[in-house]
């Protein structure tokens, strides 16, 4: 019982870590493009 619940906890923690990493990565990319747009550089 405890082992099964431990597995659920680990699985959720792994999934949440993955989603957080993806969102942080997307945020960094967004900040990069915002900075480019604010500085008015044309590509």
């Amino acid at each position: 019982m405890v082992r099964q619940e431990d597995e659920i906890i680990r699985k959720r923690q792994r999934e949440r870590a993955r989603v957080t990493a993806l969102l942080l990565g997307a945020f960094v990319v967004l900040l990069f493009f915002i900075t480019i747009a604010k500085t008015g550089v044309n590509w």
Binding site: E5, I9, V19, L30, I34, A37, K38
Partner: protein, 303 residues
């Protein structure tokens, strides 16, 4: 780790999908769409990435409102069939996680809006979040049948925010767009609350059909539709839009009025016999989408 804690579902870390559900993504489309249209209707357009960020912030702000609303209304949600399976009443999430998530999302969306576009748009976004959470959810909703009438202002902010993000200022057109959504909200929600009124009654929410009765609500729907139609058509005679918008708005609003009149004429009291109410509710969603889409089309079409 003790076994007793683990047997409580709320003690488990919440699934990320439950955090997503907390933001009510299904009701976010209209907020995002009207915000986008408010931005596209503006005379100047921001660079693509800044426009995208502004709309993202509107979506995140709406998500924060959804999360804080669900945190505050967990007891009420548990009593309604429609909402009992949400993460908090179903016990899949710790309330404190929802509160922190909601506040974090709200602060993040406002700061990002201010940094990416301008602080007028950020202030409007902050005002809409605070209005929704404190004026609507905490103050009006559990106390008065006028909750939707005044609370409708919270959902009316997005076109104003979109316009402000693009221009850094106000104008007559976005204020009219605000008025359209503000006046559209009562007929839209009252049509829904007529055929789910038993849910609201069970939860003790004083929605108009519960407090004033079915007949009065049907009358109010028709009465509120009249100023909404006037606000929807007004940009045309005021010269703020072209003929395409004006004609489409008149036709769309006429159909809305006919459906509202059918609701006013309905005498059924059982939800199963409330086809006019269901038709009006479904059409009201289409109406707002179509009206704002036509507004943008009118701005970009060459005639």
């Amino acid at each position: 780790m003790p076994t007793l804690e683990l047997t409580n579902p709320a003690a488990l870390p919440a699934d990320w999908r439950d955090f997503l559900a907390l933001t009510k993504p299904r009701v976010m489309y209209l907020v995002v769409f009207t915000g986008l249209c408010g931005m596209l209707a503006a005379p100047t357009l921001p660079p693509l990435v800044l426009g995208f960020t502004a709309i993202l912030c509107v979506a995140l702000g709406a998500g924060a409102c959804g999360a804080l609303n669900q945190w505050y209304e967990v007891d009420v949600d548990a009593k309604m069939r429609r909402t009992a399976k949400r993460p908090l009443p179903a016990g899949r999430m710790d309330p404190q996680s929802a509160l922190h998530f909601g506040i974090g999302l709200a602060v993040f969306s406002v700061l990002l809006m201010g940094l990416a576009t301008n602080w007028l748009a950020a202030a409007l976004l902050a005002a809409s979040i605070l209005f929704y959470v404190f004026i609507y959810t905490v103050w009006l909703k559990p106390r008065t049948a006028q909750n939707i009438v005044i609370g409708g202002a919270a959902g009316a902010f997005p076109p104003l925010i979109g316009w402000a993000a693009a221009t850094g200022s106000f104008a007559a057109l976005p204020l009219l767009l605000f008025a359209i959504i503000f006046l559209w909200t009562p007929p839209h929600f009252w049509a829904l609350s007529l055929f789910v009124r038993s849910d609201y009654a069970a939860a003790g929410i004083p929605m108009l059909p519960v407090v004033a009765g079915i007949e009065s609500t049907r009358r109010q729907i028709l009465i509120y539709t009249l100023p909404m139609v006037a606000a929807a058509v007004a940009p045309w005679p005021l010269g703020l839009t072209g003929h395409v918008y004006g004609i489409c708005a008149a036709v769309l609003s006429f159909v809305f009025l006919v459906l509202a009149a059918r609701v006013a004429g309905n005498r059924a009291t059982e939800p199963a016999q409330m086809a006019p109410e269901k038709h009006l509710f479904a059409y009201s969603v289409f109406y707002l989408f179509a009206l704002f889409a036509v507004l943008v089309a009118d701005r970009f079409l060459p005639w």
